[in-house]
């Protein structure tokens, strides 16, 4: 799976999302529960704003000095016997990783959840090189078995699936013969995955945060699969987006605390693992060989621009969980592995406007995302910046909007045309109007009116009403 998860057009994806009743109710209840847990966990601290401020300060400082901290990280990884590969592109990253897999003669690769490996399309590169790749995070495992169904949420990737669908997938792909009770499904996955862990040659992980000063990487999970991926196979490769780094363990504490509270409303998740290099001499479990692959893949193009703070993201999905647009259309509508408000900011930056120009418009600009972000990324402001860029610099505003703007420009340039236009608006829209609402609007209004009613233009123009009022009428 790559960053781009669909070749459908934006509005087709949205239509699919809007018509998926189970998904929509699952998303709505997930948002309520996760937001509730997050609020409880943050309010409990009593000084959450202080924590956010510190989080923002740390992220800003680290990104401003990213070259220094990455250099320090790489020095410290090699001191502990690990190898570091700096990959400017996804091709370079995949080439290096498959080369290591081939050298290790790896037949089976177990992975713990990683967004960046999705982004660079690593699984298919490894499969091409003859490896079997097994995702071990339960949600990711379900999606992988179900013919690589794309994730719909950053933290809960299989949110859009119900337990009956999961049972059927297990049944069809793995001969499962029990019920759809979540405990039974999970126990089956446990047994299946245990065997995979014990027989794997190579473990691949993402990286929540790397610690520059000690050359460590940290993994945050609830299931403990990252621990198994890194304890059992003989070799380990960790792939990190270049921005996922903190100066020392002191800042790791803050970032992990912000992440756990914001993503799942917990003080800490069940497993947080700090790994430094390959196993030490004499250690029994742990990898003999450790490789850290640091990936740019378009990130450096965000540095030094008005979008730099988007790289502060710690992938907690708090913004996703409060977004009214995400609630309405679901994760798949974004067409990217990065969904929700941060997805609408990041996907055009990493994947280009050609594929993602609609996403900055898929926002109500209500700023709930900005308020929820634990590191204070001004998400709604970045969405506005995207819109400005799309219209002014890229000239890539959607066709409907262009047409509407052209029409407005024309109408507004002549007083008589403007008068005619505003006078006739009500009757022009009459065929689409029902009880003062437009339910099936034409042209650029269609996407809106497909999912929401639009108030019909008033029969009386504001100017006429005002004139009448001036004359003492009502």
């Amino acid at each position: 799976m790559a960053m781009k998860i669909s070749d459908d057009k934006f509005f087709d994806r949205v239509e699919k999302g809007v018509n998926n009743t189970f998904m929509r109710s699952a998303v709505a209840s997930a948002q309520e529960r996760m937001q509730g847990k997050r609020l409880a966990a943050t309010e409990e601290l009593g000084n959450w704003e202080e924590w956010r401020k510190l989080g923002e300060e740390i992220r800003t400082h680290t990104l401003e000095n990213l070259d220094y901290y990455l250099e320090q990280l790489s020095e410290n990884v090699v001191k502990r016997g690990g190898h570091v590969f700096f990959a400017s592109t996804k091709e370079e990253a995949n080439e290096y990783i498959t080369k290591v897999a081939k050298e290790k003669q790896a037949k089976k690769v177990v992975k713990s959840k990683s967004m960046v490996t999705e982004e660079i399309h690593l699984n298919s590169a490894l499969e091409k090189a003859g490896c079997e790749v097994v995702e071990t995070d339960l949600g990711e495992y379900i999606l992988q078995l179900d013919d690589h169904d794309p994730p719909s949420h950053i933290v809960v990737p299989a949110l859009h699936k119900n337990k009956e669908q999961i049972r059927d997938t297990f049944k069809e792909k793995r001969g499962y013969d029990k019920s759809e009770i979540p405990e039974e499904l999970a126990l089956f996955a446990r047994e299946q995955l245990r065997q995979e862990f014990l027989s794997a040659d190579l473990g691949i992980t993402g990286c929540n945060f790397a610690v520059a000063e000690s050359g460590s990487i940290s993994l945050v999970t609830n299931e403990g699969n990252a621990g198994l991926v890194t304890a059992l196979p003989k070799a380990q490769i960790t792939v990190m987006g270049m921005e996922r780094i903190v100066p020392t363990w002191e800042e790791l504490d803050i970032m992990v605390s912000l992440l756990c509270r914001s993503s799942v409303g917990q003080k800490l998740t069940s497993y947080i693992t700090g790994l430094t290099g390959p196993k030490d001499e004499g250690d029994v479990d742990g990898p003999e060989e450790f490789h850290l692959v640091i990936v740019d893949n378009g990130r450096s193009n965000i540095l030094g621009t008005e979008f730099q703070s988007a790289l502060h993201c710690i992938r907690c999905a708090a913004c996703v969980n409060v977004c009214p647009v995400y609630r309405h259309v679901g994760g798949h509508s974004y067409g990217s592995i990065y969904a929700g408000p941060i997805g609408a900011v990041l996907s055009p930056l990493l994947g280009g406007y050609e594929d993602y120009k609609e996403l900055p418009y898929a926002s109500s600009l209500c700023a709930a995302c900005t308020d929820a972000c634990p590191v204070k990324i001004p998400l709604h402001e970045l969405l506005i910046k995207h819109r400005r860029k799309i219209v002014e610099d890229e000239k890539k505003s959607p066709f409907g909007e262009k047409l509407a703007m052209k029409g407005f420009q024309l109408a507004a340039s002549s007083p008589s045309l403007y008068k005619t236009g505003t006078k006739s608006a009500s009757s022009v829209m009459a065929p689409f109007t029902k009880e003062n609402n437009i339910q099936k609007g034409p042209g650029p209004m269609k996407p809106w009116t497909d999912v929401r009613d639009f108030p019909a233009p008033s029969k009386e123009r504001f100017r006429d009403w005002y004139k009448k009022r001036e004359k003492g009428g009502k």
Binding site: H83, K267, S270
Partner: protein, 243 residues
Amino acid sequence: MAEGQIHHRDFFLSTVAEKLGRERRKTVTKPQWTTTPQYDVLKDASQDELVEVLKKHCEVIHTQFIETSLDKLTEKIREVFEQYEVASVVTWKDERHKEFGLEENLLDKLPQENIDVHIWDPVLKEKNIEAAEKADVGITFSDITLAESGTVVLFSSKNKGRSVSLLPKTYIAIVPKSTLVPRMTQATAYINKQVKEGKNISSCIDFITGPSNSADIELNLIVGVHGPIKATYILVDDTARLP
């Protein structure tokens, strides 16, 4: 230890510096952060108050909490064995077993009671992992314990395998009261200090908070997806044996 290799660094980091609009930085002084809210959490709590915080939070993290004295420790462990229907045990090769009386009162006796005991031994290599995979329970001490989140911190070493806390069906952490600190801040400060002093930190530092769980199926909490299905913390008052 053999040093690893670094590939493609210069081009990559020069690009980063260039995009940031400056030369490569070779020295950076980390600033004093303007706020440090992490130190305010449970700032003035006594050791007994921390015990209460830990105890209460264990309910949230689906972990059984038992409090005991040094002389009752083995008795309590046996009670949990019965509850978990334990027939095989894996544990670290840990000098604290002797200090806490577990060697003579428990580990040495269990084989006569038909309970299989495997003590992690680097000489036995892979056999340790096989034993951990088959064991009903894994037992470790907590090296540092975080009251706020109910977390045990484990520093791996050749005698302290990572698999002991991960592979068995159930998990028991023996938590010496003396290891209790308010939160993650104190644990990371300790690790940070080791790094600053140029010491090698453990290749694996585990922060474990209750049993393995997942909410991936319709957001239902399911316990034991990968790691232990049940977890118990036995807090033992070791303050009497401290100097």
